[in-house]
Amino acid sequence: MNRFRSLGTAAVLSLLLSACSSTPPGQPQKDAEPVAPSQVMKFTTLYAQNCSGCHGAQGRGGAAIALADPVYLAIVDQASVRKVIANGVHGTTMPGFAESAGGMLTDKQVDAITSGIFSNWVRKGILDGSNPPSYAAKTAANAANGKLAYRTYCASCHGPEGEGGRKGSAITNDSFLALVSDQGLRTIVITGRPELGAPDWRGNVPGKPMTDQEITDVVAWLASRRVQNPGQPYSASNYAQP
């Protein structure tokens, strides 16, 4: 009887003690309170809600380019990235997220995403000594030279006319070209798609990086392959007899 009682007392006491000493599991935590959507400033949350659909979880890349690619972040500046996030890229599948462009994010949130991308994923000095091409084209483009450069650097994977080859897919497809901007093409030529196995501007021909001018020209040649009415699903060219 005595032992029973002491055991019971111990049980009750320990229960009470656990209730008093540490915070009870049900007690609401102050930082767990819901924040108004316009007040969310945490980069990981904002990225997960607004960006990861296309750019992949943690910037690893998805259908669109990887934002955590240090090569990409080394050539692009914050102002350009911010502008694209805020206003989108017209004609492509990158929407504008700022309220001023019809999106749902405040200016501060756009800032938070922009600075978060750089502060989390930049790797300093990754392109030291490799003389990287500029993010935007600076010189006049020549499409005819671009075709020659294409033959040198791209055709081995993407086929002689960009119709696709053994290792790379079609990149002169009319619908594809209609949905991607010139800057988008330039970015991919420079950075490649490392997560999908496409090399950056240095790796197309081993030991022979593309020059800034060559990149500009290749993009101009690709752009020149755009057609008037892209994406006609029943156009005869799609059903050419073999």
Binding site: A19, P24, P25, G26, Q27, P28, K30, E33, P34, V35, A36, P37, S38, A48, Q49, N50, C51, S52, G53, C54, G56, A57, G62, A63, A64, T93, P95, M104, G164, R166, K167, G168, S169, A170, I171, N173, D174, S175, F176, A178, L179, V180, R193, L196, G197, A198, N229, P230, G231, Q232, P233, N238, Y239, Q241, P242
Partner: protein, 507 residues
């Protein structure tokens, strides 16, 4: 010790005598406590009524405690709840007790009702006890809804909008009913104030009166005897038979039957306290600010089935159902004791009663379960937040990847899942290429149909081509995509090599 008792005993008795001479309550209380009940009713099946009463009293106590801090003003209710959660010592626990208590109360009232129904306790002469019980159930649900409104957060705000939209559909008086419900033309301060009055004064007052009547009738008419198959209730003979039963095989309610009630009651209170301790209070969710539109309001647990029903009913049936079904259900419950006031009490000889209970329980359970996922609601952030699974990106062509971008960009993902993420309103598209050919995919995205909007005005030919090229890659490894046999014959086997080209092994 004994000496003390000898001294105190007579003193206490004297004081008691003094009060009883003036109150004259001891005799009726003793009579009520010791009234004989049929021996078999001292059962664990008969504890739910007293448990419901206890939880109600608990709600009264915790409710009064909350009212010490809570401010029934649309401008301050939310912050007063925050203060309860964080600033007032143990405020969160009292909130949690009240919230969990309400869940327990609805559950126990429902269980009590099922038990009464299956044991035939609503039959003669206890018809009125049952009818008052039906009103008690309605009031309990009314308390649950108004209590959800008092937790004045986003869910409460939009829940009120739903309540207003439903009441607006009542013919002729609908719009007036909305304003009466909201206390004005919009959901605002007056709305919360009137729900506060309902939750704190009107409904509890009625509940106390009705509970009193309900209890009085239980005492006067006696606890329903344990139903025996073959023992038939007849109006002419029942009361005499019951009297004989309690005389021959009866036992005083106290202490013979009450100890089980007491045990169960204590158990329920401890269970509520444990839930409150471990799971904490409900909400409040975001601020009740109607300009915050990024919200997906959901009702509390006990109205989830209604949420499911409102999503699943065909649109044309919704208004008639909403207006007629509650009337029919309440009428059926009230008329039940008149329609089957006599006859067999035992559930063993009442298969239809058992099946009805099972059917209702399974229906409500299924709807509640469904409402927890809400497969009918688009996921508003899926298009920008849910990544396209890697296996649908790797080994695709540039065009197909653009198609995946179009898929996200045009919010297809909000209703269609890929790799189990995304909305579930439309079918999952992981293997859509097996079901639909190239032409069928184009038709579906352009014209919509089958509860899908038409996207024709919103997709350029290039976007359509890219999107369809992506959708055609969505098939399991072992299954080839659907092909149009007629076109194969007309144009040759490789004709379905569309502009996107087949899925490749390498990028």
């Amino acid at each position: 010790m004994r000496i003390m008792n000898a001294k105190i005993g007579p003193a206490v008795a004297k004081i008691g005598e003094w009060f009883d001479r003036r109150l004259q309550l001891a005799a009726p209380i003793r009579e009520a406590a010791e009234h004989p009940v049929p021996r078999k009713t001292a059962s664990w099946f008969y504890v739910f009524g007293s448990a419901a009463l206890t939880v109600f009293l608990l709600q009264v106590v915790t409710g009064i405690l909350l009212a010490l801090i809570y401010v029934p003003s649309a401008g301050q209710a939310w912050s007063s709840l925050q203060a309860l959660n964080h600033d007032v010592a143990l405020g969160w626990f009292i909130r949690a007790m009240h919230g969990w208590g309400s869940n327990f109360m609805v559950a126990i009232v429902l269980i009590h009702m099922v038990q009464v129904f299956l044991f035939g306790a609503y039959k003669f002469p206890r018809e009125l006890t049952w009818i008052i019980g039906v009103f008690l159930l309605l009031m309990t649900l009314g308390m649950a809804f108004s209590g959800q409104v008092l937790r004045f957060d986003q869910d409460a705000y939009w829940g009120l909008g739903i309540g207003a939209s439903i009441s607006s559909r009542v013919p002729i008086i609908g719009p007036a009913a909305v304003k009466l419900l909201l206390g004005g033309p919009i959901i605002a301060g007056a709305t919360l104030s009137r729900f506060f009055a309902l939750h704190v004064f009107v409904i509890p007052g009625m509940l106390i009166a009705f509970v009193g009547l309900h209890l009085l009738m239980v005492l006067k008419l006696g606890i329903n005897e344990w139903p025996m198959p073959g023992r038939i209730v007849k109006r002419a003979t029942y009361e005499r038979e019951y009297h004989e039963l309690t005389k021959q095989d009866g036992a005083p309610f106290v202490p013979y039957a009450i100890w089980k009630d007491m045990f169960f009651t204590a158990f329920i209170i401890l269970a509520i306290a444990a839930c409150a301790f471990y799971f904490g209070p409900f909400g409040p969710t975001g601020q009740p600010d109607p300009t915050i539109i990024q919200t997906a309001p959901k009702p509390d647990y006990f109205f989830l089935w209604l949420y499911a029903l409102l999503s699943l009913l065909p649109p044309s049936m919704e208004t008639p159902f909403l207006l007629i079904a509650p009337v029919l259900v309440i009428l059926a419950l009230i008329l039940l004791p008149f329609l089957s006031g006599e006859g067999e009490k035992s559930w063993k000889r009442r298969p239809i009663a058992v099946l009805t209970v099972l059917l209702i329980a399974i229906t409500l359970g299924t709807f509640t379960r469904l409402a927890q996922f809400a497969p009918w609601s688009p996921h508003m952030n899926a298009w920008s937040g849910d990544p396209v699974p890697d296996r649908f990106v790797h080994g695709t062509t540039a065009l197909q990847r653009q198609g995946a971008l179009v898929f996200q960009f045009k919010q297809c993902r909000n209703c269609h899942s890929l790799g189990n993420t995304g909305g579930q309103r439309g079918p999952a598209l992981d293997s859509v290429a097996v079901r639909l050919t190239h032409d069928q995919l184009i038709r579906q995205v352009i014209q919509g149909g089958g509860n899908m909007p038409a996207y024709g005005n919103n997709l350029s030919p290039a976007e359509t081509t890219a999107l369809v090229a992506f959708l055609e890659t969505l098939h399991p490894a072992g299954q080839s995509p659907a092909r149009d046999a007629a076109r194969d014959i007309a144009l040759g086997d490789s004709s379905q090599k569309t502009s996107g080209g087949p899925r490749r092994d390498k990028r």
